[in-house]
Symmetry: C2
Subunit: 199 residues, 2 copies
Amino acid sequence: MTATIEFWFDFASTYSYPAAMRMEAEAHARGVMVEWRPFLLGPVFGAQGMKDSPFNLFPTKGQYMIRDLQRICAELDLPFMLPTPFPQNSLLCARIATALEGAPRQRFTQAAYSLEFGEGRAISDPLNAAEALRRAGLDTAIVEKAQEESVKMALRASTDEAMQKGVFGAPSFLTPDGELFWGNDRLEAALDWAVKHAK
Amino acid sequence: MTATIEFWFDFASTYSYPAAMRMEAEAHARGVMVEWRPFLLGPVFGAQGMKDSPFNLFPTKGQYMIRDLQRICAELDLPFMLPTPFPQNSLLCARIATALEGAPRQRFTQAAYSLEFGEGRAISDPLNAAEALRRAGLDTAIVEKAQEESVKMALRASTDEAMQKGVFGAPSFLTPDGELFWGNDRLEAALDWAVKHAK
């Protein structure tokens, strides 16, 4: 009886940053296995009729989000700096994460989020994506490999799967019995649910 | 040195329901004085270019919100039933709450939220508003009094004040040093901030 959870994230998503940085400790404390699932929010927002980040479409909410994240990251002792432009184009990093699996995917994801929201660097830049791979102890040749057709198709399939499963934002957490939890705030509740309903 | 906080709520707001029901216990545990501030979300959403509840404008989010609230209320042992139509027109109850002060305002607010989201009843109906007053141990004649011009103007002024202070949704919590916290999820963080920064 092993509890598992899917962790859906987009590299442009601000609240996915603290979720990605604290996920393993929280999951480990509860004995939950995490499947890290990169996807693209763009098509998901597009299907809801939004052509930009909700934080740009609703500026007062965007301003608040920045202050909220400053407080959340301060509490977690995580550095926070918004990259320019915001949101970042997350396609390259999503492809790289898709080309990886297991622990390497997790390490790259955390390194990329740290660069983007801890240091405010542009993760759409292949040099920064390579830097994230290096910090994760991985081969920087993966930047090239991530442009292969099979990787592009796998990422598209993941984004379709996210939508089919009702994911409408990031971070999202999905348990095997189909419960969806949205937002960094729901990380603990999602893991607790996964443990309680593990088969 | 008394810590205080403003609690901004709209009677149509689903997440304001659990916030209103648990506010006093959480505030009391920390010695924080709460000012209950009714306002109208309609003009606030309108200023952001939204002509309906975000939960209706973005149906996948709306569906999720219902499930999320079911889980939150189950955890708190609170009944939950969405009223029809959703969202409810909150004008009448907002005026009644504005016409009241202090403990009576709080008791009426909790009674109205219980009717609306605990029993799924239409709080725009004056009979149900009167029922909430009765349950709060208050005079039902206040339903009439709430239609006076002075009350309407006070509510309009409150809604303007909310927007001036950066409130863009409900529930919202504001500390005397100007920190804004949004959402039932932020209730504890807001109270903790109020205590830490009390003068």
